[in-house]
């Protein structure tokens, strides 16, 4: 069975590969959505924080003998802590200002962090070996998929669903959502809102770092890895609807698949297709597919 003269197995395998990229988009846009929802900050440093996650894993393996599995936990914690430091010392001063200031600050931070890493490590990056247990391919019938790629999809889907459940179904999530709606009222009920904001930012950053660790064995661990990705991820967030948790997960995965399909049909357009979709969505539904008009 052929579709557009392309054999079905080829289409299926491209869709699977698209899903892998979609997993990264989903994880990253989820972090952005959580941060934007509560802090009203457009976190442009997200790409740099993703890169920091990958570098933390690489440092760990290279100098401290920390293996992949430990790095999967430790790197997000370390980078998340760094994020909280940024939030306390800098971002927290901007909550009363316009969105634009947060965007400029985080964009500046991203440039500085990236610049320092280019200075220190060069742009070519460093290789990070795939962990022993995840080497080799799995036979999916229509394609041989490297085990590690399958692992990325699984981890990302599990983490995304867990985040969504926590935010939508638990008391902690209820606090978060209440904080998004009306932080002053929530504080009046005795909730420590500033602490909650700091932790939320740290969590969003940790998600970016987790995506970074997941990406380390697939791509070169290089200072530019985040800036290549971040613009696409912002488009994903805009399409999904700013601040919508479910929207960012679904659009992240969906757009990965659409991008994958474009790479087969018209490869030259594969880095623009997402922006074309963004333009259309903005025209038809300015608040995004899952966003609410305010």
């Amino acid at each position: 069975m052929d579709l557009f003269n392309i054999p079905l197995p080829a289409i299926l395998s491209q869709l699977v590969v698209g899903l892998i990229n979609g997993s990264f988009y989903a994880l990253l846009s989820l972090g952005l959505a959580i941060i934007f929802g509560l802090l009203n900050i457009i976190n442009f440093a997200h790409g740099a924080q993703y890169m920091l996650g990958a570098f933390a894993a690489w440092f760990g393996l290279q100098y401290l003998g920390i293996n992949y599995w430990v790095a999967l936990l430790v790197a997000p914690l370390a980078v998340g802590a760094f994020g909280m430091l940024l939030e306390r010392t800098m971002l927290s001063r901007l909550y009363r200002e316009d969105h634009l200031y947060g965007l400029l600050l985080t964009f500046g931070l991203a440039l500085i962090i990236e610049g320092l890493f280019v200075q220190g490590f060069g742009v070519s990056g460093n290789p990070y070996a795939t962990p022993e247990a995840l080497r080799g391919p799995v036979n999916l019938g229509f394609m041989m998929l490297p085990k590690y790629r399958l692992w990325v999809i699984v981890v990302s889907v599990v983490v995304c669903i867990a985040c969504w459940l926590v935010i939508e179904r638990t008391k902690l999530g209820a606090y978060l959502r209440a904080g998004t709606e009306n932080p002053r009222l929530l504080q009046a009920f005795g909730v420590n809102v500033p602490l909650m904001i700091t932790l939320t930012y740290g969590f969003g950053v940790a998600l970016a770092a987790l995506a970074g660790v997941l990406a380390a064995p697939i791509f070169q661990v290089s200072p530019k890895m985040g800036s290549d990705l971040i613009i696409v991820v912002f488009a994903v967030v805009v399409i999904g609807g700013m601040g919508s948790i479910l929207g960012s997960i679904v659009t992240g995965l969906g757009l990965g698949v659409i991008e994958g399909a474009t790479k087969v049909v018209w490869p030259e357009a594969s880095n623009t297709v997402i922006f074309v979709i963004m333009a259309i969505v903005l025209l038809v539904r300015p608040a995004g597919l899952f966003g609410k008009e305010k």
Partner: protein, 405 residues
């Protein structure tokens, strides 16, 4: 009386000629070199700050002076964008009175700056950019293309792989001037040697995820997957190919432009077995080792061919200024073309009328981890490709500067 008049006339003539010579001498009392390169992007490891170090070494080695005038070095990051390169080149030409534009990694920036040099007659010493168009249909009188070009890469790697039995090809091509040019040159070599091109995919530049393109290449059933790209695009493609088991599946990868910085960043376990063509390898002989060790002491890295090429081209340029006593573009380039190039970098080098510096190229294979005895011990030189065989024969040139008999 008659004698006195003759004497006076001679004196006047001598004075005038001397005046003219002084005028043709070094303009603005300095030789200004402007490095335009990628200082922070995808190509900054293969060119970038290392190119600046190489240029500084060249200036230090002539004692900071040429023809009695100081050498001044300017540098700017063209970010691989043709418009930025062109604006900077124009500004440098008009305001800073730069005498030579150096390096220009990324073909699109090189072509843009050559367009400006056509008007202001400045020297362009290209090392980083690769397209064979630079000295073919787009050649210009003051441009010298030093290190390598897509034709030589195609000739070296392309014909070697076809001779080993790689008859059917599929290309992953960076979607801009250089990639397309490289694919075209390699395809011509493949077909001339009895091979066949089954297909190609143009990927965005730069791209990070190559898995989709690798799958398409696998599905094509071609024996050889040709990577018509450079820098991080090449390394990411090789990594993806490794992960998706391209080699185990019986296909061969041909990196059409691989720099030693790429091999270093991939590591030998992933890069081993790649066949590649290079214009320079640090561990070729005593002369290359000596210069490269000096470079290493300053940067902590062994030089890429682009960086070594910048040093070599500048030394040749300085020699020509010294010999002519002038930094006028056409005069200096004329002298450069008359003088053979023989140094640690170039063997049997000469600059042809089209601006191509023809020199021996090397066909190399990346060593297995077990064969590598020391850090940066990466290549086995399989064959020295004589310059006249490596580069486009003048008889086939479309360059208007080439006089056809």
């Amino acid at each position: 009386m008659h004698f006195a008049r003759t004497l006076a006339a001679t004196a006047v003539t001598v004075a005038l000629t001397a005046g003219a010579a002084a005028h043709a001498a070094i303009s603005d009392d300095a030789v200004k070199i402007g490095i335009l390169t990628d200082l922070s992007g995808t190509y900054s490891d293969l060119a970038g700050p290392g190119v600046v170090v190489a240029a500084e070494m060249a200036i230090a080695d002539v004692g900071g002076k040429v023809a009695g005038k100081p050498v001044v070095l300017l540098k700017a990051d063209h970010q691989n964008k043709a418009d930025i390169a062109a604006n900077k080149a124009r500004e440098w030409g008009d305001v800073e009175k730069v005498d030579a534009y150096v390096d220009l990694v990324t073909t699109s920036t090189a072509l843009a700056v050559m367009e400006i040099a056509k008007q202001n007659q400045k020297v362009v010493l290209i090392s980083g950019a690769g397209s064979s168009r630079i000295t073919n249909e787009d050649c210009n009188p003051t441009t010298v293309h030093w290190t390598y070009d897509t034709y030589a890469l195609a000739k070296g790697t392309g014909s070697a792989v076809v001779k080993e039995g790689g008859k059917t090809w599929f290309f992953l091509t960076a979607d801009y001037a250089f990639g397309q040019n490289l694919q075209k040159d390699v395809a011509a070599v493949v077909e001339a040697n009895g091979g066949k091109v089954l297909g190609a995919v143009k990927h965005p530049f730069p791209a990070s995820d190559f898995s989709s393109f690798i799958l398409q290449a696998q599905a094509s059933g071609a024996q050889v997957i040709g990577l018509a790209n450079a820098g991080s695009d090449t390394t990411n493609a090789i990594k993806a190919a490794n992960e998706f088991g391209v080699v185990q599946g019986g296909q061969k990868l041909a990196g059409l432009l691989v720099f030693i910085s790429d091999v270093h960043s991939l590591g030998l376990p992933v890069a081993q077995g790649l066949t590649l063509t290079t214009g320079f390898y640090w561990d070729y002989d005593d002369k290359t080792r000596e210069w490269s060790k000096r470079f290493f002491d300053k940067t902590g890295k062994m030089p890429t061919m682009v960086q070594a090429g910048v040093y070599s081209s500048l030394m040749h340029y300085f020699k020509a200024i010294e010999a002519t006593g002038s930094d006028d573009g056409p005069t200096v380039v004329k002298k450069m073309k008359e003088t053979p190039v023989e140094d640690f970098f170039a063997r049997n080098g000469k600059i042809r009328e089209d601006g191509r510096m023809v020199h021996d190229m090397y066909l190399a294979e990346v060593k297995k981890p077990a064969e590598s005895k020391a850090p940066w011990d990466y290549y086995k030189i399989l064959r020295v490709i004589p310059g006249d065989e490596a580069y486009l024969p003048l008889a086939e040139s479309k360059c208007p500067l080439v006089k056809k008999s």
